[in-house]
Point group: C2
Chain length 344, copies 2
DNA sequence: ATGAAAGCGCTAACAC
DNA sequence: GTGTTAGCGCTTTCAT
């Protein structure tokens, strides 16, 4: 019934024998068949088919020193954020692009410093060709470890310790924030507040910087600290409202906080956008879907960033021989775009 | 500064040379050192240390035919449910246990039937020693494929097609449901409804069965269909309330739906548990944390189930030589326990 | 208890 | 173009 592979799997040798060619030729065909005459290619292909031949990965790795696997390193605080659609999207992009490159995703889940040694050993053991990591928090110890392992790595999000000159992929947080605030200004708003994200994440810092780029001498009290959660956004909005009776706009560092702000506004009977205009950041579908009014926000292509992380890594791996440290180690900053909806 | 591994990594040969022993002895020491005299063990250990030797995985796999990696196959609908804490917990358990066994987690993300062939090839390619899969939905095609690949596999959740005699790990859904309903009965409740989960998940079906075990001739109209979401629970509760004015208890197939039911009850001014007692299923911390009143529910140890999946798989892999199909392929049903809180 | 030697299955020079 | 051959780094009989 269930046609199960029974005996030992056929080797290249067997394929070659059946096709009546040498092992080398069989190998060439299996690897694309460049420089082999058509009829032979055909013969080998048939033999592969008939025997159900599948290349032995270990043997191949042993000689090529490439194993077609990439580690995705996720530290506990971020994994928790798997509930955060942000991560799901990024990992989705990574997974898809990896598949397109015929590479496997090896998940390395770091629960704490106790796991550091294991990770270092694994990375140092050459089990993977490269690694993808996320630099969400300022705790550099893990990042440093990864870099030191010597495994080509691309980070997601600009690392905090700028001394580590590692390639990363991030969206233009600062530029996006600028665009958001400029939009608010263009609407004629005079008193524009900012609900900021946690200070230990570069994305939040960059967005604050963008805010200040436009509002050079904004009163510091217009800036209210949040932590990227909906509740913190609601709280911050309440504070701002108390502090600034004439407030007419707010730029939140992410959509979740913007949604929180929106609910506070509604509770207080403040009209959006008539009285206060609101702009978010991320364009997170699951959040944006049901805010009232529809949220104007800065979109970033998260899945795309995941894919780019992989592309960057792959380029580095492929070009390993040539321009080692040339454009190979360049980072990528992706564009953001303002999505205008009803809230501003 | 960054102490990076520069040249090619040292081989066993190098270690042996430095320790003044043969490659064979060095190998023995690296693999535990059984049957090697202490002084030599010591010498080799030192050489390993000094050279920073790390075994070459591919070479080892090539000869042992074991590669210390396990695939975790996640199909798209379930991955979406990564937001569902259920999955996070189960994967956490799996990851931890795998680490304890020195095995790596290779994530295989299946987006649709288009990926089936790729998965089959990967599994067939012997890249992993075993696989862990989830049988949440009745779509057997993927499951069948996995089974057919011949890779030892353990499923999470009882598979729908009972014809596939594959080992799985699941909690005692039916027994747990029975306990929940019996508790309601012991409370003196006479009109006990059930908010069921989707019909294509065995867990939901088993819980329905448990409900009927206790309430043998319950009116079919006491059973209301939900889909495991909070909203569906709220809706179902409303329907039941309309249908049964004398309703005094409800058992929901999961906590999320119970939470939804609770909010409907509150809206309608129905007191819990005085008027209607409510019991959930899962004891999902993130849901249970903030229901009012605190939810009485059936607890299952999800992380533990993840760990058991790994243990089962490992036992199968290790005992591969001996009692192949003996107790090796047995499934595990874990106990549930009723957690009494305020709602029933 | 230790060493010598034979591969594991494959790719990549190098000959032809 | 195609075949021959030499390893990749390791484990594992088999002698000693």
């Amino acid at each position: 019934m269930t046609e199960q592979i029974t005996g030992p799997r056929p080797t290249l040798e067997a394929v070659a024998a059946r096709a009546g060619v040498s092992r080398a030729t069989a190998s060439r065909v299996v690897n694309g068949g460049a420089g082999v005459r058509a009829p032979l290619v055909e013969k080998v292909r048939r033999a592969v088919e008939e025997l159900g031949y599948v290349p032995n990965h270990a043997a191949r790795t042993l000689v090529t020193r490439r194993n077609g696997a990439v580690a995705v390193i996720i530290a506990e605080p971020e994994f928790r954020i798997f509930s955060d659609p942000f991560f799901e999207q990024q990992v989705r992009g990574i997974s898809r692009e990896l598949t397109a490159h015929d590479a496997q995703l090896v998940l390395l889940w770091v629960e704490g410093p106790g796991d550091h040694e294991r990770i270092a050993r694994y990375l140092g053991g050459g089990h993977v060709d490269g690694a993808l990591a996320f630099s969400l928090h300022s705790d550099d110890r893990l990042s440093a470890l990864i870099v030191r392992s010597g495994v080509p790595t691309v980070f997601g999000g600009r690392p905090a310790g700028s001394d580590l000159a590692v390639p990363f992929v991030d969206c233009d947080n600062r530029g996006g924030a600028r665009e958001a605030v400029r939009h608010l200004v263009s609407l004629g708003r005079k008193r524009i507040a900012h609900i900021a994200g946690p200070r230990d994440q570069t994305s939040a810092l960059d967005r604050i910087a963008g805010y200040h780029d436009v509002l050079v001498d904004a009163d510091p009290a217009l800036l209210c600290q949040g932590d990227f959660t909906r509740e913190s956004g609601a709280r911050a909005m309440a504070q701002l409202l108390d502090r600034w009776p004439d407030l007419d706009a707010v730029f939140a560092s992410n959509d979740l906080m913007a949604a929180g702000a929106l609910s506070t506004l509604r509770e207080r009977g403040v009209r959006v956008p008539e009285d206060v205009a609101v702009v978010g950041f991320d364009d997170m579908e699951s959040v944006v879907r049901d805010t009232a009014p529809a949220l104007t926000t800065v979109r970033q292509d998260i899945e795309g960033m995941g894919r780019i992380m992989v592309k960057l890594l792959m380029r580095r791996l492929d070009g390993a021989g040539e321009a080692e440290s040339a454009s190979a180690s360049a980072s990528v900053i992706t564009q953001t775009s303002l999505v205008r909806r009803a809230s501003a």
